[in-house]
């Protein structure tokens, strides 16, 4: 079938500039179905910008974007894409909302205007919270959870609408190593058992090469896009060139 072979995301010569400042130049990128793609690059390299373009929050000045085989201008099924923002953890901590209420907002757009949550929707919410291992916190206030736990809740919120693609912008910032490990386990489970394609931004190249099955390296231009083994074979010199400054990384061999 055509839809199986076409990538879920396609960037076609995309450029973007804020006012006069170029953030992205001539990006060509395909993300195939089932990918676990790690997006790396220096601060200001344009990772968040790329994601905002993909989510339709910004419009490319040049080039075109296709999602699930459709031009982004015509794309309507936004519920197929889940997103956990780089700023997800900077919400108002005093906000009086339970985990249940927060995760429900992931369904608000699906349910639609002038319609109300049904029993099925409520079950979906519980299922998503269960999936991220936070079931016993359903009726706890979100503000009283730890940073790592909140991160899981935001993932549950993006999972509740059954997305085919999940985008995570630096989700492991401020999370301790033990929880980072659990977090990647969760991602593997989503990727392999639930068939969700993943696009993950992280500065932790080491951990990323251990888990992702593809890496894209972005610094204004897309300097590298390939499988993790090829990325691991890059010399430190080449990597430093991509980053524009010397870089020391410990790349791990892929575990699968």
């Amino acid at each position: 079938m055509f839809t199986l072979t076409s990538p879920i995301v396609r960037f076609n010569h995309v450029s973007y500039a804020y006012e006069s400042k170029h953030a992205l130049q001539d990006i060509n990128l395909d993300i195939p179905t089932g990918a676990f793609l790690g997006l790396v690059g220096p601060n200001g390299g344009g990772k968040t910008t790329l994601i905002k373009l993909l989510l339709g929050l910004l419009k490319p000045q040049q080039g075109s974007i296709e999602l699930f085989g459709e031009k982004i201008e015509n794309f309507k099924k936004w519920n197929k894409i889940g997103f956990v923002s780089q700023k997800a953890n900077s919400f108002n901590r005093g906000f009086p909302a339970t985990v249940r209420e927060v995760v429900s907002t992931g369904l608000t757009a699906n349910v639609g205007y002038f319609r109300f949550f049904t029993k099925q929707h409520k079950q979906k919410v519980e299922h998503a919270v269960d999936l991220v291992g936070m079931k016993e916190y359903l009726d706890t206030n979100i503000g009283s959870l730890s940073g790592g736990q909140q991160q899981r809740i935001f993932i549950a919120r993006s999972l509740v609408s059954d997305p085919s693609l999940l985008i995570l912008d630096e989700p492991t910032v401020g999370i301790d190593t033990e929880n980072v490990k659990k977090f990647y386990d969760l991602l593997h489970q989503l990727n392999e058992e639930n068939n969700i394609s993943l696009l993950l931004v992280s500065h932790d190249i080491g951990t990323m090469t251990k888990h992702a099955n593809g890496i894209a390296c972005l610094n204004k231009q897309l300097h590298f896009h390939g499988d993790t083994e090829a990325f691991a074979r890059l010399s430190d010199n080449q990597l430093s060139n991509f980053y524009g400054h010397p870089l020391q990384v410990v790349t791990h061999q892929h575990e699968h």
Partner: protein
């Protein structure tokens, strides 16, 4: 004491109005507080004052009756809310700038219309601090209509409003029409403020929308519960405030706000006591 309120017509009007604003004030106030827009309520109440002054001016100069101060205030408040939205999108990085602009604009208009009307009208005192005797049957009916509008719209758009309040970026990414929803919300706020002003007064109307919520947030779990307790505290404040205000011949704005401050203090202390005792038992 309570039966006095049912012997006189005007007290009846006040009492029913009190019950209605004790419901819609804290109800909408919960959204206002969690979105950190408490000061916008203040700005809008001052714009409403400008409208009221305009209405009083028309009444005094031309004896016009088609635009009572109540409706003039409501009109100004709604227009003011639209202005706030415009200003907020012009000054994206300085969203709070809209508040002093609108607030001072409201006070400026009030001063102009008051002096055009040749000085202070005795009514004005009631508009500033609230009044137990000022609500007419007609006002009451208007407030009933406002209450029905507010309840219906909140019921219909609850999930969108909640989502927008919790995480605006997420709402936008998901395709919620955040601008339109926010617009509806701010107009509702303007309506609630103009409905509450007769009883609580311009200077204290934002207190009715925020103090019960401040108390509720301390003890509630989740958003719906926060709304629930806010409304209970709001109703308590209005009922106790109206009765004591009438009894001591004090403008009810003062007594209502003081009652809600006492409730606020009680919730803070009861929470502290609760924590103290529960911690004790854990240590044992």
């Amino acid at each position: 004491m309570l039966n006095l309120f049912f012997t006189y017509d005007f007290l009846q009007n006040t009492f029913y109005t009190g019950l209605l604003i004790g419901l819609i004030g804290p109800l909408l106030g919960t959204f206002v507080v969690v979105r950190r827009l408490s000061l916008i309520a203040d700005a809008l109440s001052h714009v409403t004052l400008g409208g009221i002054a305009f209405g009083l001016f028309l009444e005094k100069k031309y004896g016009v009756l088609f635009l009572s101060p109540f409706y003039a205030g409501m009109g100004f408040s709604v227009v003011g809310s639209i202005f706030i939205e415009r200003l907020r999108s012009v000054y994206k990085a300085y969203q709070e700038l809209a508040i002093p602009i609108i607030l001072s604009g409201g006070v400026g208009l009030s001063v102009i219309f008051i002096s055009l009307a040749d000085g202070f009208n005795t009514d004005l005192y009631g508009y500033l601090f609230g009044s137990v005797t000022a609500v007419s049957r007609n006002d009451l009916w208007s407030i009933v209509v406002i209450t029905i509008i507010v309840l219906t719209v909140l019921f219909l758009f609850y999930k969108e409003l909640f989502m927008l309040s919790f995480d605006e970026e997420h709402a936008v990414v998901s395709g919620i029409h955040s601008k339109r929803i926010h617009f509806i919300f701010i107009v509702l706020t303007a309506l609630v403020i103009s409905a509450s002003i007769r009883i609580v007064g311009v200077l204290l109307v934002s207190a009715l929308m925020t103090l019960p919520v401040a108390a509720s947030i301390r003890i509630a779990k989740g958003f719906k519960q926060t709304i629930f307790f806010s409304v209970i505290f709001g109703e308590l404040s209005v009922i106790i405030g109206l009765l004591t205000g009438y009894y001591f011949e004090i403008p009810p704005g003062g007594t209502i706000v003081l009652t809600s401050i006492i409730i606020l203090i009680l919730t803070i202390f009861s929470k502290k006591l609760w924590n103290y005792f529960t911690r004790k038992t854990v240590i044992q």
